[in-house]
């Protein structure tokens, strides 16, 4: 991929202006007579070449956020009820359909959790990787094929010339995810969203896929949003992490500091749920209780029913995401106490 454009852009100082910025984004899912608030007024930004992980359990709103950025919220039902999404300074929600379609595929791409269902079973792998090139850049058939085979080699699919003509079911899970990555990278996007890219794969394949993603990210200086519930994957691959719980960002900061010294009781709970090789025979730690029903969230702090530190204040007043140290934010009334308590 000898594209000169991405190379020059990568020379820009990294923390200039964010590539993507979410401002007070709220998402709702409307069903027959219920409204579930999937995401509540979240703010995020991702810079060129940076990996931001969004960490959370299922139902925390992390995938909904990804879909909203890609304009893929399920229709009808999924609504952006509040806030803005900026991409390179352009507001995505207000763009016309044609302008938006132009951005997707060219500058923003996504890969999904289950590559087999994300690929069309009746179209060849080669066609699917090259489709955007052919439709958007109107490359000829031969040029497209050449480029697709390059891409397949880039993501290390062996025997690319022959596998070009094959169908997704003829590939193993890991190879399917490589196809998906090649497909997402076909147009040299500036931002790649990876929605649980390794969850459906074997552990050994997981590591290979993540290494490949990181390598390609560096090559193109892409912004990467890594959505995961896997603490290990996040710890190894992300620069910053946003922890989501029940549609809120409860904590955000550099991965190392957040993991070493959490500033929110939920993150503390997550960290202590990691099994340790040293504590032999102990029961696995878990957070008591269940995540709240998003159609009927608790008052005050969404985490208070499961929090051991909860007070009356937590039951009444919703904590805001506030800066507690440079580049570090937490949405807890007792963030300082949590920090100090943990550092002892």
């Amino acid at each position: 991929m000898e594209t000169t454009t991405t190379a020059t852009e990568s020379n820009r100082p990294i923390k200039s202006e964010p590539l993507v910025e979410l401002r007070n984004l709220s998402l709702e899912f409307h069903s027959r007579n219920k409204i579930a608030k999937a995401v509540n007024r979240i703010c995020l930004e991702v810079y060129h070449g940076e990996t931001l992980a969004i960490l959370g359990e299922s139902g925390s709103g992390k995938s909904a956020t990804a879909l909203a950025i890609m304009g893929l919220l399920p229709k009808p039902g999924g609504v952006i009820s509040e806030g803005e999404i900026f991409f390179e300074g352009k507001e995505l929600v207000r763009l016309s359909e044609t302008e938006r379609r132009k951005l997707y595929g060219e500058k923003l791409s996504i890969i999904f959790q289950d590559p087999l269902s994300a690929l069309n079973p009746v179209l060849t792998v080669g066609y699917q990787i090259g489709e955007a090139l052919r439709k958007r850049k109107s490359l000829s058939k031969n040029e497209t094929k050449k480029r697709v085979i390059e891409l397949m080699k880039l993501v290390r699919i062996p025997d690319a010339e022959n596998r070009y003509k094959q169908y997704p079911y003829q590939f193993s899970g890991g190879m399917q995810q490589r196809v998906m990555i090649a497909l997402a990278l076909a147009m040299n996007p500036k931002l790649l969203i990876a929605d649980e890219p390794t969850t459906a794969l074997d552990v050994t394949v997981q590591a290979q896929i993540m290494r490949l993603l990181k390598e390609l990210q560096e090559r193109n200086q892409m912004g990467l949003i890594l959505i995961s519930h896997d603490l290990g994957v996040v710890a190894e691959n992300a620069d910053r992490v946003a922890v989501m719980y029940a549609g809120h960002i409860v904590e955000i900061g550099e991965v190392e500091t957040v993991f070493k010294n959490p500033a929110h009781p939920y993150t503390v709970g997550l960290m202590s749920s990691i099994p340790s090789a040293r504590q032999n025979g102990d029961r696995l730690q878990s957070i008591e209780g269940l995540p709240p029903n998003l159609a009927d969230p608790p008052t005050g702090c969404a985490f208070h029913p499961r929090c051991s530190m909860a007070t009356d204040l937590c039951r009444k007043k919703e904590p805001l995401l506030e800066e507690i140290a440079p580049g570090r934010k937490s949405a807890c009334h007792f963030a300082k106490e949590v920090l100090n308590h943990e550092s002892i």
């Binding site: 379609r101 997707y104 595929g105 999904f112 079973p121 497909l183």
Partner: protein, 308 residues
């Protein structure tokens, strides 16, 4: 694929054997002495006896059955006593008419119901969807013989633009083919509609959207082919129904196909013709199903796997 086709072929032979055995049994269960029916009410007992003798109808059933199977293997279904000459020749003469009628009807059904189904799926529960589903359900619930008669009244009697009976030109074909396909349109429309809606929920549609492709492109290139897989299966199953319904339509429109020949032959106990016609219809049905299976493999690459 080759071994699959060979397996299918032997399976098909078994099905044809079953079909002709059933028709052999059914014809002998129908009340009334065939020789008596053939000769009419003025026949003497001696005449009836000698006819039974010459047709082999007084031999024990299993002997008749054995003889019948041997003859069928030689493609000899016997002579038609009513029309004279080999029964198979009469059936083969009528066959092209029935096939033309059934295929035109299938073509009509596809041409009418695919666009309607796609249109209905564009906005589920929207105005167009409701109108389409109401009209197609209505078409499905009308009895075909009645529709045929009403069409004849309107287009032949009142407007005088289409011939009411017989065959020979494209104009002759329009009304019977339309009448024949009408009940199937509603079914296929709903199949296409639900197939598309089901496929639109699949992950690959999200992927296609994330590429910034146009909605129509996604619908026709990505979704439709997947949605057609179950539709083709059901169309294959419906083929038999098309031929079955064709028999009634042929009578209404005096269409000279197998159907009318079959009904008259049953009335006159012309066993040879009935058996030949049924065996042939079973054979056609099986060949059509085989074609559908091959087509199925063409649409869905996962079916083609077996060979590798």
């Amino acid at each position: 694929m080759a071994s699959y086709l060979i397996r299918r072929f032997f399976y098909s032979l078994f099905v044809i054997w079953g079909a002709i055995t059933i028709i052999f049994a059914v014809l002998r269960i129908i009340p009334g002495d065939p020789a008596a029916v053939m000769l009419g009410s003025n026949a003497t007992p001696e005449q009836i006896h000698s006819l039974n003798e010459s047709l082999g109808l007084n031999k024990p059933l299993f002997v008749q059955y054995g003889q019948f199977i041997v003859d069928v293997l030689r493609l000899d279904f016997g002579e038609s006593f009513r029309l004279g000459g080999p029964a198979l020749t009469h059936v083969l003469e009528r066959l092209p008419f029935t096939i033309t009628l059934a295929f035109t009807a299938i073509l009509f059904a596809i041409i009418i119901s695919f666009p309607l189904g796609i249109q209905a799926a564009r906005k589920p529960n929207g105005a167009a969807d409701r109108i389409i589903s109401f009209v197609s359900l209505f078409g499905q619930s009308l009895p075909t013989f009645w529709v045929g008669i009403v069409l004849i009244l309107i287009f032949s009697r009142v407007l005088g633009i289409l011939p009411s009976a017989g065959a020979g030109s494209v104009a002759h074909l329009i009304m019977p083919a339309f009448t024949l396909c009408l009940p199937f349109i509603g079914m296929i429309v709903r199949l296409v509609r639900s197939g598309i809606l089901e496929e639109l929920r699949q992950g690959y549609v999200q992927t296609a959207r994330s590429k910034g492709l146009k909605q129509n492109f996604i619908l026709y290139i990505h979704v439709l082919r997947n949605a057609l897989i179950p539709v083709v299966t059901v169309l294959g199953l419906l083929l038999g129904e098309f031929i079955g319904s064709a028999i009634i339509i042929e009578v209404v429109f005096s269409w000279p196909g197998i159907g009318r020949l079959l009904i008259n032959s049953i009335l006159y106990r012309d066993y040879a013709v009935v058996q030949a016609a049924i065996a042939l219809i079973a054979g056609i049905y099986i060949i059509l199903n085989l074609i559908v299976d091959i087509l199925y493999g063409y649409i869905d690459p996962r079916i083609r796997v077996e060979e590798s």
